[in-house]
Amino acid sequence: MRTVAVIGGSLAGLSAARALREQGYDGRIVVVGEEDLFPYDRPPLSKEFLAGKIEMAELALTTPTEDAALDLEWRLGDPATGLDRGARAVVLASGREVPADGVVVATGARARTLPGDLHGVHTLRTADDAVALRRDLVVSRRLVVIGGGFIGAEVASTARDMGLEVTVIESDPVPLGRVLGADLAATCAELHRDNGVHLITGEVVTGLAGNGRVSAVHLAGGRTEPADVVVVGIGAAPNVEWLAGSGIEHDHRGVWTDDAGATNVPQVVAAGDCAFSPCAYAGTAVRHEHWTNAVRQPAAAVSTLLGATPAPPTPPYFWSDQYGARLQFAGHRLPDDAVEIIDGDPADRRFVAGYRHNGELVAVFAMNQPKLFGRWRRQLSPRIVPAGLP
């Protein structure tokens, strides 16, 4: 291979580029990015960056020294719009083409939105999103967060620190219930209430009200929550539409890969938020949107691209910081798993919980217990290794 095109200019794309060099590839690497920014770290966008405590420069994922050593060619602010297999080239929005004999698809995901076009309604995915949201938060009194997932909870926590009145609306009976199970999710939900956040659960948002600017959120049943600013945190959709017609198998769940990142097309691999891949710890194919996955999965995909054997997979891992509490989760929970408290007491907000399947520890969750968490996450067992494409 003489040229590898890495499609995606965020953490997964950068991780792929780093892995290519680490694994000895010395040809051209062209990195294509939609945003006109060098790769930056996203987790602080809902926390320190949104709070105004750190600057954009501190989010940079590369240093000039490292970037020079990687010898990358950047095509930023010019997203890929198509993959021409016949010409072995990636087509960009500008019409330019990047000829490549190897392709890493790492185009990530975008925030899901609600219909409408009112000012004061935000999603949070990019640095621009965070800047715009902060601009609104500092002049607002009442924030309504739609969706009680990690982004929603972190934004609620940050806004509370900034002095806003905050309401979180979650359509499920308890936020994070599907991730953590009802009991442990309830422990996390109490963090909202203890910090003066109004949590509404089991209710569906039917629309937004406002004249030019948002003024309220309508709920099923006629209830209305007033709002000066709204954050929509209802998940993300994979950026895969540009692959239409490419012959690469994909659908609304992402780009299909095998457990080593290979797509159905030779010399094209996929990784990160856009990839829908078999996961031994989930026992099924999933699309992971976690930071650590955007670091590890590209390295495995690059091994596959280079004809090497990928390192064995490690359990999925994610964390969240909200209301001063540190939440960490590794593995993948399925509804039938048995849950037990391994250490501490949820009432103290300092504990480790394990999930078991047929007696095997398959997932672990910790609140404010990072050291023990680090120990237990190394003892997780995979469920089954699914074969082939999803």
Partner: protein, 106 residues
């Protein structure tokens, strides 16, 4: 020098955290003691809570690894080293001589 405590209070493979002008973590690796700044240079996490393997500690939050001997990060996401400090053991009592500045540690 800062008093860390009794040598017996730092079991093999464990770490303790002490408050100097910034928190410092002291690790016991197979009987050899190492002291570094406790806070990961990437984001706010205590390295004393991290996983120790050989002469490296892995940050408990994002898995950035630091060499306990040099303070150098081994890879992303950390880009900057942590300071290292001299450890002095006197009659079973552990002290740390705090490096005065980041420049001095470099």
């Amino acid at each position: 020098m800062i008093l860390v405590g009794s040598l017996d209070d730092i079991p093999l493979g464990e770490a303790v955290r002490v408050d100097a002008e910034v928190p410092i973590a002291v690790f016991n690796v197979d009987g050899e003691l190492f002291a570094i700044d406790d806070t990961c240079t990437h984001q706010d996490a205590s390295l004393a809570d991290g996983w120790v393997e050989g002469c490296a500690v892995e940050c408990p939050l994002h898995a950035a690894c630091f060499d306990l001997r040099t303070g150098m990060p081994s890879g992303p996401p950390a880009k900057l080293p942590v300071r290292t400090h001299e450890v002095v053991v006197d009659d079973g009592v552990v002290y740390v001589r705090v490096t005065e500045s980041v420049e001095a540690a470099a």
